[in-house]
Symmetry: C2
Subunit: 569 residues, 2 copies
């Protein structure tokens, strides 16, 4: 059996190694367009940032090491240009001399990855404009930085690569601006959670430009100008284009293979394309989203590696299926961890699910043990069933742990009650006796079982403001201590500290709905329980004042001190 | 409704607060024997160690704060002495004046915890011998250390409290000896995994005495002598007795409530005792083990807190069940994390399960990103079904994360294939594209699907040694590089580096079984795949040479250079 694999990173390399372990006799060929095989593609930004200092660490595997260990024939700087499915051959071009030859296959695995989106605007050929995909790209940016000592950088696009480059260039001392077309960075976050990320970037001196459309680039004397649809252009010593990736499916399309979403290669659950002798894996394929069950594009290393192994198994007669991706991801941004899994609230609602979310701000471990850090955690659930649909955590150490636990719970189809029952490892340096994941389950359970109603800040502010003064308008109630209120609150909110609430119920306006908040949402929940049992109509404002503060600082609510309907906030 | 709760820590305090949130009208009374309520019991050793410096941090909650927030009547330094189930009253003794009064209840919750086991040996009344359970115990030890400046400590018992005390006293500069009756510390670990812990303790200057029976204590001039059944007694400035805990069930027994395992209070899944008006939670109850389904005692804060909430719900008419504990736990021991969930291999086999285990040594995150740390990970599975039964991780940062993920997987009834499919969050600072949990799944899957056989070190050494020289005896094969072998190997093992294996197959003894090892088990697995396909009979030695080294350093295999049957190791 002869297997040809197009693309020697992540999925392709994994498939090749697994094939060999399963079959000593197979002939295995990897065709790789770049000069490197199985390189550390997720580590590339960190080489530019000087976090990884040794070039060799990015390229631990070589064609020679693949041959020595696995007898895999890795041909770098060669490109598959066409597939003759009838003859079962691939035409391959040697990039060094342009010569083309045909390679026969019994089975073909396509692992071509995804390419940086080229929005096709003027000036993208500037030698000061970079994209980052390959080791060569990395060395190009790295060498530019060492040679030219740039002081400023414009980064177009605020996804994983854009932000990792922003962090790394900033850590190298550059003055960095991130330009994002949408209303917030990181589409894996909801807007409200992204506010925390925005504030963190600004805290570290990175400028964040949102809702900004780049229209093109032009050369300056010793620089590059990024033109925007509105406002002054951005001048910098270099620019990075990282506006997302698109499936690299030209080869598949030209071979007549069936394509799906945004041109991604369609595969069945065995990762077989519409041609039974051709498999496809990695960023180029359409997958089933593990939460919605709908087609999705998920360009991440984890699924690619898993898929490579599954394709190899199926080729060797082991029946193995890929059941879908849920997009679990994590990003380090200075001292902050941004981790997500499953659907955002927005994506869940867009998928037609009756979704809601809770926001909590737990500590990563017992607060009486030194060094605890705070996490802001948003967990998305289905309203009728309590099924967990997704989670976002932006915070300190331990954020990635809770996302992985929830990712596992989502995989298992768990609901809120299941989260409350998870038996997680506790000791003061690591967690709390009720882990943040358990707490999220409790919050959701209380909502689902009708024990408390909740309302988001935007709705709360609007409700309280728009009917302001009317007898029927809801009233904001701050249940924090006087000290906390003195440091800032929502203007016009009533203030009764939780511990005085029972004595001061007669100060509250009867017949008007109370929108209760505290710093994080815990005390206001207790207050709601008291108030409800005393006949008041009330709702807990999700996320508390701390969450509102992040949004206000981010400027996402109308700035200059006015909320909706002109209310001061 | 009037609810009386016996015991105001963990389960009791949680039950009380939840009761109030559910029912503003209920009368809620907590009877607490110590002077403190809802204190940080898992933090006590760290106050003695000086890690937590503020006394107030251990006792954030007070009877006053419980009253202010929850209108809960907390009576400290009072002890329940008997229950009159017919009259539904509890007799309570005020410890300060010895007076006794009766308190009526509609519902009673028992949360008395567990008491340190008193092995009833001579000299346990020494004023230099301490146990650690309460805040008062903590202050007693702390004050002794500050006053007497002890230089040496003997700790009897190597479970959680013993080891946390060992670490904390050692960090304070004391010379510490831990004495353990069994063959290894931490019964939540298998012997082979405990070796790593033993070595770590010794590295930090703590003496570890295993298989040692303490027979009593006696006073020295300015010290305490711990007598052993064999060998010289241990003299120290203080001693800590931490040989485990037993359910505090005297009150329940005398009230005629049904008891279970080792005298623990029997409850149904609603946490109701044999008296429908009496609930019990926490360390005093018998629970269902979530993996075996059999009765178990699991004295941990996490389950206690969950149980408190469940008891409160049921009392308030919310149907809620406790489905069992799986004993997830974590211990910090200097720079090492010791985390476990579910069953050890030994416990699984003792429970009659056809269990096996894999051992792997992954890095906690991509090794090309600075600061990666190594984890030793043992995952226990059921041989026929692949169901995950338990896991133990001893290692650096991220050990607790993987245990929590596996704990969640166990909860969901996942099998090895499910582990391979977990979609966990990856970026170089946090994980690898194939997370250690995925890798464990792959290892198990390969065994279950017959792709590789494995053998443990003790079996491998015995097989290779006992039939040494015979034509039929198995042969150890070291597949590491020459450099690695030069740093140490098993005497008599053949040596063929993996990358030369295919060329040197004719050097291998035909017809004899090959027991193949490398440093961690990964290269030897690849070697086994090669060998099997070339017709050799072989098995992969689980855990690799690194794992054997830990065992040898621990002295758990016969010392002085000889393995079983006199073979040099």
């Amino acid at each position: 059996m002869k297997v040809v694999i197009i693309g020697g990173v992540a999925g392709g390399a994994t498939a090749a190694a697994r094939l060999r372990r399963l079959n000593e006799a197979a002939e295995i060929v990897i065709i790789e367009r770049t000069g490197y095989v199985s390189y550390a593609n997720c580590g590339l930004p960190y080489y530019i940032g000087g976090v990884i200092t040794d070039r060799a660490k990015l390229t631990l595997q070589t064609p020679e090491s693949f041959w020595d260990r696995f007898r895999i024939d890795v041909r770098v700087r060669q490109e598959a240009v066409s597939i003759d499915r009838g003859a079962r051959t691939v035409s391959i071009r040697r990039l060094d001399d342009g010569s083309v030859y045909a390679e026969r296959y019994d089975k073909l695995i396509l692992s071509p990855g995804a390419r940086p989106v080229d929005p096709g605007m003027p000036g993208t050929d500037s030698e000061r404009l970079f994209t980052l995909r390959t080791v060569e790209d990395t060395f190009r940016i790295h060498d530019f930085v060492k040679r030219e000592h740039p002081q400023t950088a414009t980064i177009v696009g605020g996804g994983f690569i854009g932000l990792e480059m922003a962090e790394n260039l900033s850590e190298r001392g550059l003055d960095v601006t991130v330009v994002q077309r949408g209303s917030h960075l990181m589409p894996t976050l909801d807007q409200d959670m992204a506010a925390i990320l925005h504030n963190n970037l600004r805290k570290h001196g990175i400028r964040v430009l949102l809702d900004a459309n780049v229209t093109g680039f032009s050369a300056l004397n010793e620089g590059i100008r990024t033109a925007l649809a509105e406002g002054a252009p951005l001048d910098a010593d270099l620019a990075i284009m990282a506006v997302g990736v698109a499936p690299e499916s030209t080869l598949a399309r030209e071979a007549g293979l069936e394509l799906g979403l945004r041109g991604a290669i369609k595969v069945d659950e065995h990762l077989r394309t519409s041609d039974p002798d051709i498999y496809a894996v990695g960023d180029a394929i359409e997958v089933k989203h593990a939460v919605t069950g709908k087609p999705a594009l998920i360009a991440l290393a984890g699924p690619a590696n898993k898929q490579g192994r599954i394709a190899a198994d199926n080729i060797c007669g082991i029946d193995r299926t890929f059941k879908g991706s849920q997009g679990s991801s994590v990003l380090k941004m200075f001292d902050l961890t941004v981790a997500t899994t499953g659907l955002t609230l927005r994506a869940a609602q867009a998928a037609g699910l009756a979704a809601d979310a809770v926001v909590l701000t737990p500590a990563n471990h017992a607060t009486y043990y030194p060094g605890s850090e705070s996490l802001v955690m948003k967990v998305i659930f289905e309203q009728n069933t309590g099924r967990i649909l997704g989670a976002q955590i932006v915070g300190g150490a331990g954020s990635d742990k809770r996302i992985d636990v929830i990712a596992t719970a989502i995989r298992a189809g768990m609901d809120a009650t299941d989260l409350t029952e998870l038996d997680l490892a506790y000791a003061p340096p690591y967690a709390s006796a009720k882990d943040p994941v358990n707490m999220a389950g409790y919050l959701i359970e209380n909502i689902l079982e009708g024990r408390v109603e909740q309302v988001g800040w935007s709705e709360a502010l609007e409700l309280a403001a728009c009917e302001h003064g009317s007898e029927a308008s809801p009233v904001l109630l701050d249940t924090r201590t006087a000290d906390e209120v003195a440091r800032g609150s929502v203007e016009g909110a009533l203030h009764v500290p939780l511990d005085e609430l029972r004595e001061r119920l007669d100060e509250l306006p009867g017949g008007r709905r109370l929108l209760v908040f505290c710093q994080s949402g815990l005390r206001s929940y207790v207050a709601c329980r008291i108030l409800t049992q005393h006949g008041f109509s009330c709702a807990n404002v999700s996320g508390g004042y701390g969450f509102l503060e992040q949004t206000l600082r981010d400027g996402a609510l109308p700035p200059s001190g006015t909320g909706p309907c002109g209310r001061q906030v």
